[in-house]
Assembly symmetry: D2
C-alpha cells in the first residue's frame, strides 16, 4: 500500500530549479516517495523550509549529508536511494558517504573531478553491491531510446560520421562585464574550485559524449580539441574532433556564448545505410533517412516504431513530453533496478546511465582540456 | 507537514492513459495528495488494482462515485476536490454528486451533453460556493498565457482575423473497415450514447473555441459549419466560420481523419498591429510579428517576456516542458484557488478554466451541429 | 539558327517588377526571343526606354497594343505570341485584339472582369485555332506537378478535406491611414475601376482555387464566403468554405493584411489513403504521409519521384529553384504547344493553364463576392 | 540596341546541367548575349548541337578553346568575356589562353590544381588589365550580401565562433559497389587526374571557406583536418577546425556521403553581440539574434533590411529566388565591372568573387589535404 521505494535528496532546495525538476520527474512513478533530505548546506532556513514545503518529517531534514547517510542507514524505514544534485566539487564525497552506508546513489554529472575518484566510486558500489546511476538525463528521452534501437538493428548501417553539438547563450553577457558591477551571471560553474577543470565541456560537452555513446555504442578512440576561455578561468566554448573505435570520425561543438541558442543539444548520425537527426529542443521527433529514400519524420508511440522503444512513452503521441519525462524515465529504470536487486535479480539490463558512463565523462573532459592545453594534440582514450 | 490539499479521482484507472497524465501533472504540486478514488465503474479489479498501485487506503477506493462523494464528505480528512476524467455522458451526474456533497470539482471537457446541464452545474457550484474547473488543458501552456498577456497589452492591436485548427489522424483507419472484423479504433467518442451529439467537434473543436477565447477574449457572435461523418453516426471532420463580437472573422477546422497530423492544435491570430502564431506540438515557442517588422521567435522564461507570464514556467527555457506542465499549471491555479477560498479570499483572479468556459464549449458544440444540420446556416451565440 | 518563336509583351516596363520576372523566366528557353512590345500605355518615355534596355528594334516598340497587334500580324517575322501583364481591366480588350489578329495569347490572371468576357475569349481562341494560356504561375512549380501526378496515381486515395490559404501582409499599413497623406500602398488592385469586383480574392484567392483544381482535379460544386473590406471599396481578407464535386469539403483563406506573411500560398490535401502538404515559400519540398506511416519529405529530382514529374526540374535537387522556374515551366509548355500547333499536332496534353482555367477563376471570384454580399449564402458553381 | 556585352562559354553542352544554369542566369541580364562557344571538347556532335539549340552562328562554335580564344580576339565583335564551366584540370590552361588573348574570364572553382597556377592567372590578369571572376556562386544570394553588410555594421559584434558545413548524399551509393557493375556514380570529381588532390573538400569544402570569408571578412590563420576516403583515391568527407586571424575558432564539415542531405551549405556565425544563421536550401531567410533578444527571421527585400543589400533582389519578397538568381547576381556584378572597365573606371567595388578568392580556395584545399595526411597537424595559412 505504501510506496515501495523511499528516496532522499542532497541539494535542490526549493529555490534551486533543478531540485524541483528532479522531484517532479520522480513523482511520475507511484512506487517512490521522498522521505529525507539535506537540501542546503549553506542555509539552515532554506533547508528547513524546503522540508516543510515538501511535507517531510522534520527529523529527516538533515543539516549535513553525512548525518543523513548515517541516520537513514540506521532506520528500518530508511531511504533506499539518494539523489545528489549539488555542485560538482561535492559529488565524490557525498556519493562515497552514502555508498559506505549501504544506500544506492544516483548522482548529477560530471560525476567527479578526477578519473580516480570516479573509479573509486565504481569499485565501492560494486563491492557493496549497490546501484550507481549518473544523471545523463537526455538519454531518458523516448527518441533517444528509439534511435539506439534503430542503430542496433542496423537501420543506418555502419556509422561513418557524427556531427553533434550543444550550444547555449546564457553566459554571453559575461563577455561584456559592466565596470563596478559584479557579473550577474557569475555562477559556480565558472569557478575551478567548485566546477573542476572545465565549465562548458564539463557541463554540456559531456552530454554530447554520453548521448552519442548511448545511441551508437561507439567509443572514442582519441580526440583533439580547441577551447576558448574569453578571459575567464574556465572554458566557455569548445570545438572537438573525435575518432571512434570503428574508425569513423565526428565533430562536437559546445558553447555557452552562442547567441540565439538555449539548450541546443543536436545530433546527426550518418551511417552507410542511412542517417538519424534529433534535437533536444524538439525531442519527440527524429528525422530518419534510409539510403536512397526520402527523409521520414518519426515520432514516439506510433505504430511504425517498435513496441520496445515506444514503451517508454508517458504521453500519447502528438502531445509533447518534455524534459520531465526524460528525467522520469531515468528514475523509472533506476527504481525498477532497485526493486529487482531487492529480489536478488540481475540488474544489468535496466536502461539508465551507470557509474561507467560517469567515468567515461570525466575521462572525456580531461582529454579535451589536455588536448586544448597542448595545441589540439590527439589524446588517446582507449 | 502533510499535504494541504487532498484530492480524489473518478475514472482514470491505471490502464487509461489520461488518468496517469492527470495524476503526474497534479504531483508537480507538493501541496496536494491523492487520497481517494473511484477509478473504474466497470471493473472492480481494475479499480482495486489502481488504488493499490497508487498506494491508497483501500477504504478510500470506492465502487461508486456516489458512495465516494458521500463518504469523503463525511470524513474529517475528506478530499478537498475531485477530478473527473470519465467519458462525456457521466460528467453531469458525477459533478453534481460531488457539488451536492460540498466538494470542489474539476471536470474533463466537453462538460455536459446539454447547455441546461452545464448551467445547472454552474448554479449549483455558485450556490454551494464551490470552485468548478473544466480541463481545457492547453490553456495551461506558458505560451498561451504569454499570448493572452500580449493581446491584452495591445501588442497585435485589434484582432482582424483568426485561423485555428486541430487536426488528428487517429480515426483515419475507420474509413477503411475490414469486413468481418471489428473496428479496432471503435471507441466511446464515436458513440452518441456516450459522447453526445458530436465526436470531433466535441472532443477537439471545443479546444479551438476555448483556446482562442482564452488568448483573445473575443466571443463568438455567430458561426456556420459544415461537418463530415463519412458514414458514421457522429462527425469526424468540421470546417467552421465564425464572427466575433468585435466584427472580425475566423475559420476553424478540426479533424480526426487527417493523415500526417497528431494533436495539431495550431492558432494564428492576426491583428492590425501584428500577429501571433503558436502550435501545440511545439508549445514553448510563439512567432510574433509586429507590423512592419521581422517575425520574432519568442520562448518562455526569457528576459524579453514579461515576468508575470514567465512565472508559470516549470523548466528552464530551452528544455521542453510538454503537456504535463500545461496540466500542472491548470491544477496549480485550481489548488491555489482552493487554498484562497479556505481563507475566505476572492478566487476570481486565479487562472484556470471555469464552468462558464464549460458552458461556452457546450453551446459551441450545439451551434456547430445545428448549423451543419441546416446546410451551414448562421447560428447566433450572443 | 534564329529563335524559333518570337514573342511580344504588353505591359511590364522596366520599372514594373513583374515584367522582368516574366522576361527572365521566358529567357530560360533558348527557343524564344522577345521581338516586340508595348510596355507602357501611360508613359511614352518608359515605353521607349524599356525597348532600348531590352535591345528591341525601335519600330517594334509600339505606342498602343492595337497597333502592335495589327502591325505584328502583318509582318512576316511577326510575333508568335503575346504575353499580357497589364492590370485586370485591360486583359479582355488586349487579349481580344491579339486573338483577332491571329496571335497566340498568354494573359495574367484574373482573366477578365466578367464570365461572359472570359467565355468570349475562349470562343474566339477556338474559332481562330489559337492557344490561350493564363498565368496561374504556381502550377509551374515542379512539386505542383509531382503532387498532381501523385493524386492521379491514387497515392492519397479519395480526397476528403482540403485546407488552403494565401495570406500576405503588404496592405496592412492601409488599415492605419496617416491623415493628410496619401496611402503609400494605394494601388490599382484596390480600385474597382481597374481591378474589378475583388481585390484580394481576385488577386490571390483565385490562385488557391486554380492550384487546388490543378493538383486534385476536383471541381467546386458550391461555396460560401465571408469577406472583409476594413473600410475599403474592395475586399482585403476572405474566408471561404467549398464543397467539391466528390462531396468533400475544404476551407480557403486569403488575406492582404496578415502580419508576418508574404506570399504564403500553402495547401494541405487530405485523402483517405494519405496526405500532401506544400508551401509556395518552400516550393522544392512536399510532405507526404501515407496512411499509417511516418511523414516523408519529398523533393524534386530525386530517384523516388517519378521521371515524368521530375522532368520539369531545371536545377539539380538541393539547389532551390524559385519562382522564375515556375514561370519558365509555364512558358516552356506554352512554347512547346505553339511549335506543335505549327506542325498541326494536337496540343491538348501540354501542361499549362488554359483559358478554361481563366473562366473558372472569374466564376470563383464572382461566386465569392456574391456569397459574401448575401451573408455567406451557398453559391452553386456546377 | 544590341546587347552591350558578348560572352562565350567553354564547356557546358546542353546535356550538362551546369551549363544551362549558367546560361539561364546570365540571360537575366538584358545587357549580355551568348555569342560563341566551345561546349564539348570530346564530342563534336554535342558541341555543334549545343550551338544550334542556342541559336549561335556556326562559325562561332569552336572545336577547341584555343581556336576560340584566338579567333574571338581577332573579331571586331568578339566576345568580351568567357565563362569556363569545365572540369578542374582544364581551368588553368583555358583561363590562361583567354587572358593571353585579352578576354575577361569568369571561371568555375576550384580555380586550379596548384597555388602557383592560380597566382600566375592573377598576375596575368593584372598585367593585361583584365577582370577575373571565380564562380563561388553562393555569395550571389541576396542574404549572403545582407549578412556581410550586417557583420560590417557590427550587428553581431566581434565574431567568436563559426560553425559551417556542406553535406551532400550523392556519392553514398559508392560505399556499396555492386560486383561486376560499374559504379553508376563514378564521375570525374573522384578522379585525381581530373579533379586534383581533393574531391569533397575541393568541390564543396571550398564553398564553405569562401562563403565564411565573404560574410565575415575573417582570414583563416591556420587549420587542421581529418578526411575520410572510404577506400577511394580522394576524400568523400572532412572535418576541419580553423583559427581565424581575429583569434576565434570555427569548425567546418563537408561530406558527399551524408544520407538525407542534398546541398546542405549552412553557416552559423556567432559574435559577442549576436548571431546569424543561414541555409543554402532556404536562401531567402536569415535568422538573426541580437544579444539578449529573441531571434528574428529576416528576409530579403523587406523594409527592415538596408536598401543597399536589398537592391540585389530580383523577385518580390515572399517569392523564392533560387540559385539562378545567385548566379545571376555574380554575373550582373561581373558584367557591370566590364562595362565600367570599358570606360576606364575603377572596378574594385563590384561585388563578385575574384581571382584572389580562387587562390585562397586552392590554398585552403592544399592545407586541408596536407593536415589530413599529417594526422591533423596544424597548417598555417597566413
Amino acid at each position: 500500500m505504501n510506496p515501495k521505494v523511499n528516496y532522499g535528496m542532497v541539494g535542490g532546495d526549493i529555490g534551486a530549479f533543478i531540485g524541483n525538476v528532479h522531484r517532479k520527474a520522480i513523482s511520475f512513478d507511484p512506487r517512490v516517495r521522498l522521505a529525507a533530505g539535506c537540501f542546503s548546506a549553506s542555509s539552515e532556513n532554506k533547508n528547513r523550509e524546503t522540508g516543510e514545503v515538501l511535507g517531510l518529517d522534520p527529523e529527516r531534514v538533515y543539516k549535513s549529508y553525512l548525518e543523513m547517510a548515517q541516520k537513514e542507514a540506521a532506520r528500518p524505514d530508511g531511504i533506499d536511494f539518494v539523489t545528489i544534485v549539488t555542485p560538482n566539487v561535492t559529488h565524490y564525497e557525498i556519493a562515497k558517504a552514502f555508498l559506505e552506508n549501504g544506500i544506492h546513489v544516483l548522482c548529477e554529472k560530471p560525476l567527479t573531478f578526477t578519473v580516480e575518484q570516479a573509479e573509486e566510486l565504481k569499485d565501492l558500489s560494486e563491492k557493496r553491491n549497490l546501484l550507481f546511476g549518473v544523471n545523463y538525463s537526455y538519454t531518458g528521452y523516448v527518441l533517444a531510446k528509439v534511435m539506439r534501437e534503430m542503430v542496433k538493428e542496423g537501420k543506418i548501417g555502419k556509422v561513418i560520421n557524427v556531427n553533434a553539438e550543444y550550444p547555449q547563450e546564457w553566459l554571453l553577457d559575461d563577455l561584456h562585464p559592466v565596470p563596478g558591477q559584479e557579473l550577474k551571471l557569475s555562477v559556480w560553474r565558472k569557478d575551478p574550485a567548485v566546477a573542476g577543470i572545465s565549465n562548458c565541456v564539463g557541463d554540456i560537452g559531456s552530454h554530447i559524449e554520453n548521448f552519442i555513446y548511448y545511441v551508437t555504442g561507439l567509443k572514442i578512440r582519441r580526440l583533439l580539441a580547441v577551447t576558448n576561455h574569453f578571459g575567464q578561468p574556465l572554458d566557455l566554448n569548445a570545438n572537438i574532433l573525435v575518432e571512434y573505435d570503428n574508425g569513423a570520425n565526428g565533430a562536437y561543438w559546445c558553447s555557452q556564448v552562442a547567441a540565439g541558442t538555449l539548450n541546443g543539444l543536436a545530433v546527426r548520425i550518418y551511417g552507410d545505410e542511412g542517417s538519424l537527426e534529433w534535437k533536444q529542443e524538439d525531442p519527440d521527433y527524429v528525422r530518419y533517412t534510409p539510403r536512397g529514400e526520402a527523409p521520414r519524420i518519426l515520432t514516439r508511440g506510433n505504430s511504425y516504431l517498435k513496441e520496445k522503444a515506444a514503451a517508454w512513452s508517458q504521453m500519447p503521441t502528438g502531445h509533447p513530453e518534455g524534459l520531465h519525462v526524460a528525467f522520469a524515465n531515468i528514475y523509472k529504470a533506476f527504481i525498477s533496478a532497485i526493486l529487482a536487486s531487492r529480489e536478488g535479480k540481475n540488474t544489468d539490463e535496466f536502461d539508465f546511465p551507470r557509474v561507467t558512463d560517469g567515468i567515461n565523462g570525466v575521462k572525456f573532459i580531461h582529454a579535451v582540456v589536455e588536448s586544448a592545453k597542448n595545441d589540439a594534440k590527439w589524446i588517446n582514450l582507449l
